[in-house]
């Protein structure tokens, strides 16, 4: 019973086996994930050694995890890596894999990081580009509104920033 939780990799405390399309499917969950997915209810899990399972949530969980007979055959058009191969050795082949495998990768990222979107540093060149895009938009708005003094200031600012890099 040393299987890790299917969602977060922590030690699992809930294990169940089910028959799906005549195939045996085993599933392992830690209590935290089980609660998040509604398989066990919050308070009840503390109450006794065997928490009451919500069968409906359980079935949904199992069914939901197998839309992906075709996920394994996803293939990156850039580097040729197949999703199944990535799952086998845990390493992606190139930057394009993140888009090619996105539907299956996002749930995985959720499991690893409990997040799917970057919130940190942005490369300097992109920060600069984003800043310039913003200034150009403001310039267009100023011109449209006939605020020519503002427009002139913005234009000078854009020129200075473009020249700086």
């Amino acid at each position: 019973m040393n299987n890790p939780c299917h969602f977060c990799g922590q030690p699992a405390t809930i294990h169940y086996t089910s028959l799906l399309k005549k195939k045996k499917v085993q599933q392992h969950l830690c209590e935290r994930c089980a609660r998040e997915k509604g398989v066990v209810s919050g308070e009840a899990a503390e109450a006794g050694p065997v928490p009451p399972l919500n069968l409906q949530a359980l079935v949904q969980l199992i069914m939901g995890q197998h839309p992906a007979a075709d996920a394994a055959s996803l293939k990156c058009p850039a580097c040729g890596l197949k999703y199944a191969q990535f799952r086998a050795d845990g390493r992606l082949g190139c930057a394009h894999d993140y888009d090619a495998f996105r539907p299956t990768l996002e749930p995985l990222l959720e499991r690893i990081h409990r997040a799917t979107a970057h919130a940190g540093k942005v490369p300097r060149t992109r920060r600069r580009r984003a800043e310039l895009d913003d200034l150009r938009e403001r310039l267009a708005a100023a011109v449209a509104a006939e605020r020519y003094e503002d427009a002139a200031t913005l234009r000078d600012l854009i020129r200075r920033k473009e020249g700086a890099g």
Binding site: R91, L92, G93, C94, I112, H118, A119, G120, K121, P123
Partner: protein, 355 residues
């Protein structure tokens, strides 16, 4: 570059200075980065790896950041030199032995900044600081990263951030590790409790030489596990909070030791110095354990006239590759244990610490 010239230096992480250095040995931050238009290292052809190496080397040579980094090809190095770099924490075991093809490392003479090329990711930028210095290390690595990014096009995704070969590093690509010396928590057996509480908040504890390595000499690395969904500052603050707790526990345990069994501790430290100064065969493992006792003895003022940096020097010099470079001989296991004991005896006699 002549690696032997590094032999007498301690390297940044063993300087024994910096904040909280009675418990915190060193702070390390690394950033994983990849070039945009080439496959990740594991899927790159030898020719592509050569191209990556060339482009990164060029960027490192031209980047206007301090300090100046010198590049060393690891592929062309003899095994002893590779192990030497691993022991100095300049490269990973993977870069040394498991990977093949063009690869290398650039680092500065102080050994505070290093960039591994063609590790699992094209670039692994690393900054080391003695003592607890997360903010300072971040400021440095952020600048080095900017300087390299000005000359290289990084793989960056609007939603996922910096893209990495392994999804466990994606987003910030940041791993911050703080190395702690926790001997008193080991003695009072409270260490397990601390680790269990860390696991719950997604921090990882590892031994000295990274993933999978055993904790020896009471040295532990605490690092963040999550790299996506939080900004760099938040990740560092979260580690800092945990380090503060570990510091508090360790110092409390040390005070308790002093109060309740000062004589016994003094005896243990004296015996450790005695063994280090008189053994004729000694393993690296035993050396680490004894040095841990000596290090604790210094910080508890149980022994005089032995600076902490000396312990660090004995620590690094008694490791396999360093020992072989110092003696100028290739030594097998048994010979190494004898050479290690001889080195320690001589050093301690010179220091006059074992009288």
């Amino acid at each position: 570059m002549n690696l032997d010239s590094l032999l007498q230096n301690l390297g940044e992480w063993l300087r024994g200075t910096g904040a909280e250095s009675d418990v915190v040995v060193s702070t390390r931050i690394r950033l994983a980065r990849n070039l945009a238009d080439v496959p990740f290292t594991t899927r790159a052809s030898p020719a592509q790896k050569g191209e990556i190496e060339g482009r990164v080397r060029e960027a490192i040579a031209r980047a206007d950041h301090t300090p100046k980094l010198d590049y060393l090809s690891v592929a062309g190095l003899p095994p002893l030199d590779r192990l030497f770099l691993v022991e100095r924490q300049l490269i990973s075991r993977e870069l040394a032995n498991a990977l093949d093809g063009p690869r290398g490392v650039a680092f500065d003479p102080r050994e505070s900044v290093s960039v591994m090329v063609n590790e699992e990711d094209h670039l692994r930028i690393q900054v080391m600081r003695s003592g607890l210095a997360l903010d300072e290390a971040w400021d440095t690595i952020d600048k080095v990263d900017d300087a390299l990014e000005a000359r290289l096009s990084y793989a960056y995704h609007e939603r996922f951030g910096y893209l990495t070969a392994c999804p466990t590093n994606v987003g910030t690509g940041l791993r911050a590790s703080v190395m702690l010396h926790l001997p008193a928590l080991g003695i009072t057996k409270e260490i397990e409790k601390l680790f269990r509480s860390l696991q719950k908040i997604n921090l990882v504890v590892r031994g000295l030489y990274g993933e999978g390595s055993r904790a020896s000499g009471d040295l532990y690395q605490i690092s963040n596990q999550v790299t996506l969904g939080k900004d760099e500052h938040t990740l560092l603050v979260e580690i800092r909070e945990v380090i503060d707790v570990a510091l508090k526990y360790e110092r409390r345990a040390r005070q308790a030791l002093l109060k309740e069994r000062r004589q016994a501790e003094q005896d243990r430290v004296a015996r450790a110095i005695g063994t280090l100064g008189s053994a004729t065969m000694i393993t690296s493992e035993e050396t680490m354990e004894l040095l841990s006792a000596v290090r604790l003895g210094i910080h508890l003022n149980l022994i005089g006239d032995l600076p902490p940096t000396t312990v660090n020097q004995l620590f690094i010099h008694s490791q396999a590759a360093h020992l072989q470079k110092l003696t100028g001989q290739v030594l097998d296991g048994e010979e190494r244990n004898a050479a290690r004991a001889k080195y320690l005896r001589n050093r301690l006699r010179d220091l006059g610490a074992n009288k």
